[in-house]
Symmetry: C2
Subunit: 213 residues, 2 copies
């Protein structure tokens, strides 16, 4: 029962000053508003005015904060992908001893989550989300780069002896495969996950083994 000393009261941790927190809150509120709208309408039917109103803010502030509809969508997608990466990271850390298992678990988690995620569903499933879809594919460089970087970091922190180049190659391919299967699923998530584990298992075993030799 830790109600007695809430996290906000630990003196050692650096509490975020209000101005910073307020800005963060503003951006989050706007992104959340968009997310909520996406639950009901498709992206092409949601106007900037809708998002601003839904966040309780003027359209101008939305533009001040994000520049344009494009950029806003970019950030929205980015934030969502970060959440996926959190889950993936967690899954990998739970299987540090069996690399292939880690891969299967991470992919399983990812694909399951993706299948349920409303943002992903609206993109994959329906019309009117072409703009968003592009952010994962043709315009997806920022996303792929960032995701690759994060996955690389996870790999290197979990298996420090693996060569960075190997980790980067693996990460990028994983990210691309993840996006591909999220966009166009093939059979159940666990099946896909284990298939990929079989496919990439040998490579993983190899680089891990080499590193520990």
């Amino acid at each position: 029962m830790t109600v007695a000393a809430p996290a906000t009261m630990r003196s050692t941790e650096p509490r975020t000053p209000y101005p910073v927190a307020a800005r963060e809150l503003l951006r989050d509120t706007l992104l959340d508003a968009a997310g909520a709208e996406l639950y009901e309408r498709r992206w092409s039917d949601i106007t900037m005015a809708d998002i601003a109103r839904s966040a309780g803010v003027s359209r101008q502030t939305l533009y001040n904060e994000f520049g344009s509809r494009e950029e806003f969508a970019q950030v929205l997608v980015m934030r969502e992908s970060d959440r996926f990466l959190d889950a993936v990271e967690h899954a990998v850390r739970a299987h540090l001893n069996e690399p292939a298992e880690a891969l299967a678990a991470a992919f399983g988690i990812f694909l399951t989550a993706a299948a349920e995620n409303p943002l992903v569903r609206t993109i994959v499933g329906g019309d009117g989300a072409e703009q968003l879809l592009a952010l994962f594919t043709t315009q997806g460089k920022p996303l792929v780069d960032r995701a690759t970087e994060r996955v690389t970091d996870v790999l290197l922190s979990g298996w420090p002896l693996v060569a960075r180049q190997d980790a980067e190659l693996l990460s990028e391919c994983l990210v691309r495969l993840a996006i591909s299967y999220a966009a166009l699923p093939q059979g159940p998530a666990s099946m896909t996950a284990s298939s990929l584990a079989r496919l990439l298992g040998p490579y993983i075993e190899r680089v891990v083994k080499e590193s520990s030799a």
Copy 2:
């Protein structure tokens, strides 16, 4: 694994508009700042300027938001007590079938949490917190009233047939006893809790029985 659909994305729930959330955030940040300061210094050594600075805000906004040092302290204490009441509420709901047990559990939780809570510790333990102490006792009407009301609500929602008057009497006495034992502990928390359960058990059994008759 619910990472896929974060709570902030449920369309049905009423998302809080930014202006409201920002205000809330401002107040919380200030209160948290005070809490953090209380970890290190005593209340009488903490200036309004300290709190404002620690929250990353000007002294004036602190005054705009809370009026005076007194009022600020009042709110601070109030918020903390609300957290305790959350814990108590939770404990009670876990023992809806055995009223006396519920009482013992709630008191046990409460006293244990109070003993560990930094705010309470600074008030009970040391000098320089007389102003805060007063808010629990001589100036404690708002706190006692509010706490009594909340406890009454919990009781009535758990045992709907109990007469409101009985619940109110019991609640007020419980609140007052809780404050008293928090301010001046007597032996271990569990001991005190069971003693009180023995003391008030008969009354509780009585009103519950009467109500179900």
